[in-house]
Amino acid sequence: MVARSEGYVYRPSDAAGIQDVFQLSRDTGRRVVPRGSGYSYGDTSTNRQGLVLDLTRMNRVLDWQPDTGFIRLEPGVTIRDLWRYVLEDGWWPAVVPGAMYPTVGGVVAVNAHGKNAWHAGTVGEQVREIEVMLPSGETRVLHPDDELFRAEVGGLGMLGVVTSVSVQLRRVESGDLRVREWAARSLDEMFAVVDERTAQDDYVVGWIDGLARGETLGRGLIQGANYVTDDPEAGRTLRAEYQELPDTIAGIYPRSKLWLLMRPTVNDTGMRYLNALRYVAGSRRAGHETLVPHAQFHFFHDFVPEWKRSFWPGGIVQYQVFVPQARALPVFRQMIARMQEVGVAPYLAVFKRHRTDPFLLSYGVDGYSLSLDFHVTTNNTRGLRETLSCLTDTVVLPAGGRFYPAKDDMLTAVQARQSFGAGAVDRFLELKAQLDPENLLQSDQFGRLFS
C-alpha cells in the first residue's frame, strides 16, 4: 500500500503571497514545504498535516533573449511551458528530465538529470542565477560561484523558496533528433554498448528487460540520439505542434486511456511477454536510424498519460541507484538477480551514464545509474521495501552507491548520511539553521532523511 500524506495547500501568485504563507506557518505552528508539480516519486513535496506552498501559479517568463538563449523564469513554469516557449526561436533546454510536467523550480530543487548527464551534467549546471526568498522575507541573488547557490540547487526547497531561475539554453537547428537503437544480449554487453555510444552520441539511454535471467540477465536496448544540423524542414520541425503526440493512437483510441489497456499486462507473465516482444522488435531494428522529435524522445513517461494508474491499486516503488564505474556492473547484476530471486522482478529498468556534480546534496557519480520500477501488490508489499532496504545496506552503499531524493521514499537518516556524505549533510543542516532559524521549512522527506 502506498503511503500518502495530506496537507493544506496554498497557491500564491506572487512573492507577497509566499510571505503570507510563512506568516501563517508562524501563526499556526504548521511548517511549510515548497511544491511544484508534485512529480517526485516520494515525499519530497509533501508535508503531513502541514502547509504546502504550491508555486505553480507563479509561472511567468520574466525575461527571454532569443539571440543568446538566456531565459529568466518564475519557479512554476513547467518544462513543457519552457520548451514550447523557446523552440521556434531555435532553442531547447540543455538538460531535461524524463517527464515535462515538473516545474523549473522543482527540477532545480532536486537537481534533476536527463539522458545526457555524463557530458552535459545536471539541470543545476545549466543555471546561471537564482533568486531565493528566505522565510524572513529577505531575498538573495545567487550565482554558481556562491556556496549557497550550490546548496540551494538540490537543496529540496529546504533552504528557502526559489523565486526566479535564470538558465542558459542550448541552440538547436532542428526539432528532430537522429535516433538509433542497439541491442545488448546481456548486462556486460549493455555496459559495453552504452560506453561505445556515450563516446559518440549526444543522448544515450538503456532499457533493460528486468525479467530476463541467467545468461540473458541485463539484456535490453540502447537508444542513442544526436542533434540534427542539416534539417531541410527546420521551419516545420521547430514547432510545438510537431513535437506533441497526437491525442489518439491510430486515430481512434484516446491516448489518455492507454493506461487502461496496459493494466492487464501489469503482472509477471504479461511483462515477460511484453519485454521479450520489445527486445526482439528492437534488436531487429538495431542500427536503423529514425528521426524523432525532441519531446517524444525525452518525455517517455508522458507518452502514456497517467501511466501510473495501470499499476493501481498497489502502485509502484521506484528504486534508483547511482554507482561508480568500478563497481557498477557487479552491483547492478546483484540488484536485478536478487529481486528476481525474491520473486519481485522489476517491470521497468532504465540505465544511464553519469558524472559527478558540484552541488552540496549530490547524488552524481562518475559511473552509471540503474532505475528499477516494481509493481506493489498485496503479496509483496511487506517484503519489497525491506528487501530493497537490505540491498541498499549490503550492496549499494558499500560500493559507494548514492540515491536521488526525487525518486526516494525509503532511505533512512543513516543511509542518507552515507549517500550524501556526512560532511555534506552536516554543512547542509548548518546552512538550514542559518537561513531558516525559525525552522519553518519542512517536508516529510526532510524529516525522514535528516533528523
Partner: protein, 263 residues
C-alpha cells in the same frame, strides 16, 4: 520492527487504511471495530462518553514504549458544537485520516401507546444528528482530498416504519438517506461511503429489543464483515447478508396488510 500500517504479524490482515476515527467506539459494534483496526496496526482515535471504557481500550491496545495506536477522546455526540474543533484536533494528533466510522445508537423501550417526545428527540440526536455532525466533517475533508472511507452503522430497522419504535426507524431511515446523498456527492470524487445494516447483534442495545426467533450475531463477527465490506468499497451492506432478502420482502408488503402485522 512491525510492517507497514494495516499489516500485523498476528492477524496478517491487510486493511487499506492507516488512520481511523471511530465514533462510539466504547461499546458494541463500534468497540469491536476499533479493536480490530488497532490490532492490525492502524492508528485509531476512539470517541465515547465513558472515560473508564476509553481508558480500558487504550490500555488493552497500546503497548509500552511503542507509539500509541489508540487515541481516546471523551465526547457526547449530542454536543454537536464541540465537533468541528475536536475533529481538527483528532486529525492533527493522528497525523491524517482515511477512515471514519459512526457507530453510536440508542434504542429506548417505547410502549405501544406511548409518544415520548423528549426520548424520541434524544434518539434522533444520537442516531442521526450526531452522525450528520461528525460525517459532514469527514465528507468535507475526504471530498477535498479525493479519497477516504466513511462507514455509517444504520440498521435493518430503517428500511420500513414499524409500530414498535417509530422514531428509531425514522432515525435510521434518515441516516440511510443522508449516506446515500453523500454518495451522490462524493463517490465520483473517490470517497467510499458504506451504509451498514446489521440485524440483531449481541450488544447492550438488545436489552430493549428482543430478537425472538431470529439469530443474533456477535459484534466481533459483524465488525470483521463491516471492515471487509468497507475495504471492498461496498455501498449498502446487510449483516448477515440474508437480511437483504427479508427486508426486500418486508418492503413489498402492502400497507393495509403491514399495518395489521404485529412486528
Amino acid at each position: 520492527m512491525s510492517g507497514p500500517p494495516g499489516v500485523d504479524g498476528q492477524t496478517d490482515r491487510l486493511l487499506p487504511w492507516t488512520r481511523a476515527l471511530v465514533v462510539g467506539g466504547t461499546s458494541g459494534i463500534g468497540e469491536a471495530i476499533a479493536r480490530q483496526l488497532a490490532s492490525t496496526g492502524i492508528r485509531v482515535s476512539v470517541i465515547g462518553r465513558r472515560e473508564e471504557r476509553l481508558q480500558q481500550i487504550a490500555d488493552d491496545l497500546n503497548r509500552e514504549g511503542a507509539e500509541p495506536l489508540v487515541l481516546p477522546f471523551a465526547h457526547d455526540v449530542r454536543e454537536t458544537n464541540e465537533i468541528p474543533v475536536l475533529f481538527q484536533e483528532i486529525v492533527d494528533r493522528l497525523g491524517g485520516l482515511d477512515l471514519v466510522v459512526y457507530a453510536p445508537g440508542v434504542l429506548p423501550p417505547i410502549g405501544p401507546r406511548e409518544f415520548p417526545t423528549e426520548t424520541d428527540l434524544n434518539t434522533i440526536a444520537v442516531n442521526l444528528a450526531g452522525a450528520v455532525a461528525w460525517l459532514n466533517e469527514a465528507a468535507d475533508r475526504f471530498g477535498r482530498a479525493g479519497r477516504g472511507t466513511i462507514v455509517g452503522i444504520s440498521s435493518v430497522a430503517g428500511d420500513r416504519g414499524r409500530r414498535g419504535n417509530p422514531v428509531y426507524n425514522a432515525s435510521k431511515a434518515g441516516l440511510d438517506t443522508y449516506l446515500e446523498a453523500l454518495r451522490a456527492r462524493l463517490a465520483v470524487r473517490g470517497v467510499t461511503i458504506v451504509t451498514v445494516k446489521p440485524g440483531y447483534v449481541r450488544t447492550a442495545m438488545l436489552e430493549n429489543n428482543p430478537p425472538g426467533p431470529l439469530p443474533v450475531s456477535d459484534p466481533e463477527v459483524v465488525a470483521a464483515e463491516i471492515l471487509d465490506a468497507a475495504a471492498a468499497g461496498k455501498r449498502v451492506v446487510y449483516i448477515p447478508g440474508w437480511w437483504r432478502i427479508i427486508m426486500a420482502v418486508t418492503r413489498m408488503i402492502p400497507a393495509p396488510i403491514f399495518e395489521r402485522l404485529s412486528f
